[in-house]
Amino acid sequence: MEEIKGAIALIGYGLAAIGPGIGIGIVVGNAIQAMARQPEAAGMARTTMFLGIAFTEALALIGFVLFFIA
């Protein structure tokens, strides 16, 4: 097999961004649904949404850092 050249880390980062992209979409979508259904609980839903985003986003960010390390 011929040697692969170029920035392979870029592909790695792209792969690492797929999962968190879907995950953040699910988190935010469900948080909006919760806020629409129970507007009085919007504050709690927003805080939890940010927490969920932060945990999900971590995977993509680790990929981003590995892109620089690799």
Binding site: T47, F50, L51, I53, A54, A58, L61, V65
Partner: protein
């Protein structure tokens, strides 16, 4: 027009990346020290750290200098920041014991906010938290606090509950315990630091690339021709990113504070 020519002179066509702006490399190199007092070297990062500290102190001092029945507008603004951290973040997540940890959370929030906003400050344009040392140090503080609080409130039960969680079926308990052990003591501080670091590095790189390359395109377009139709929206898009980066800077400070509070909460009430 002189400024444009100066901008184009700083790029070297012989390098592989044509006209890489200086700022891109700035994040990944050790900058030379500006001045030194005795054995202490003061680099740009160190100077900016002290600057951020003094700005936070000055903001809080100016906000709460005079105690009066009707506070000034600035005082009201600072009060809303303090009450947001104390009531919403500390009391909201930790519970009735929250105000005990509010001073730490407030100082970490203010420091990260000021350090992040250096990214957008004209003349500085350098997010302090994009140096790994600073978010890592802040994460280590949070780690020390939640570990010490966990052990002092619950004794060895704190460690035992993590390694041997009662709510999990017996067959899987050792595996979940192992994952939890690594996740609590290793991954928590690392992800806390990396989240802040990577967000700010990404934002800084995006701003630098868009504005820097837009600026160099401006310089490269000799006459106002067809190419400037492409360049102008590119440059304006870079300016639009400023607003987005402001939101990211505030949000990351909030998330760091919120996650610190959540981690402390899991130590105060480990059964949840």
């Amino acid at each position: 027009m002189d400024v444009l020519i100066l901008a184009s002179e700083s790029c070297d066509p012989a390098t592989e990346i044509i006209c890489a702006p200086d700022n891109v490399i700035e994040l990944f190199e050790f900058t030379e020290s500006l001045f030194s007092i005795g054995p202490l070297n003061f680099t740009k990062t160190v100077v900016l750290t002290f600057l951020a500290m003094f700005i936070v102190l000055a903001l809080l001092y100016m906000g709460f200098r005079k105690r009066s029945v009707v506070p000034s507008k600035f005082g009201v603004a600072m009060e809303s920041v303090v009450s947001f951290v104390r009531d919403d973040v500390a009391k909201g997540t930790i519970g009735p014991e929250g105000p005990r940890y509010a001073p730490y959370l407030l100082s970490i929030f203010m420091f990260i906010l000021v350090a992040n906003l250096f990214e957008l400050t004209p003349g500085i344009n350098f997010p302090l938290t994009s140096r790994m040392a600073i978010p890592l140090m802040l994460a280590v503080f949070t780690w020390l606090i939640f570990v010490i609080v966990g052990f002092s409130k619950n004794g060895l039960h704190y460690l035992f509950d993590i390694v041997w969680p009662k709510s999990v079926p017996l067959a899987l308990r050792w595996l979940v315990g192992l994952i939890e052990l690594v996740s609590v003591f290793v991954l928590r501080p690392i992800t806390l630091a990396v989240r802040l670091f990577a967000n700010l590095v990404a934002g800084h790189l995006m701003l630098t690339l868009l504005l820097g390359s837009g600026w160099i395109f401006f310089a490269a377009v000799g006459d106002i021709g067809a190419r400037s139709i492409i360049v102008l929206p590119w440059f304006l898009f870079g300016l639009g990113i400023f607003v987005f980066e402001f939101v990211v800077a505030v949000l990351q400070a909030y998330i760091f504070t919120l996650l610190s509070a959540v981690y402390i909460q899991t130590s105060v009430h480990p059964e949840h």
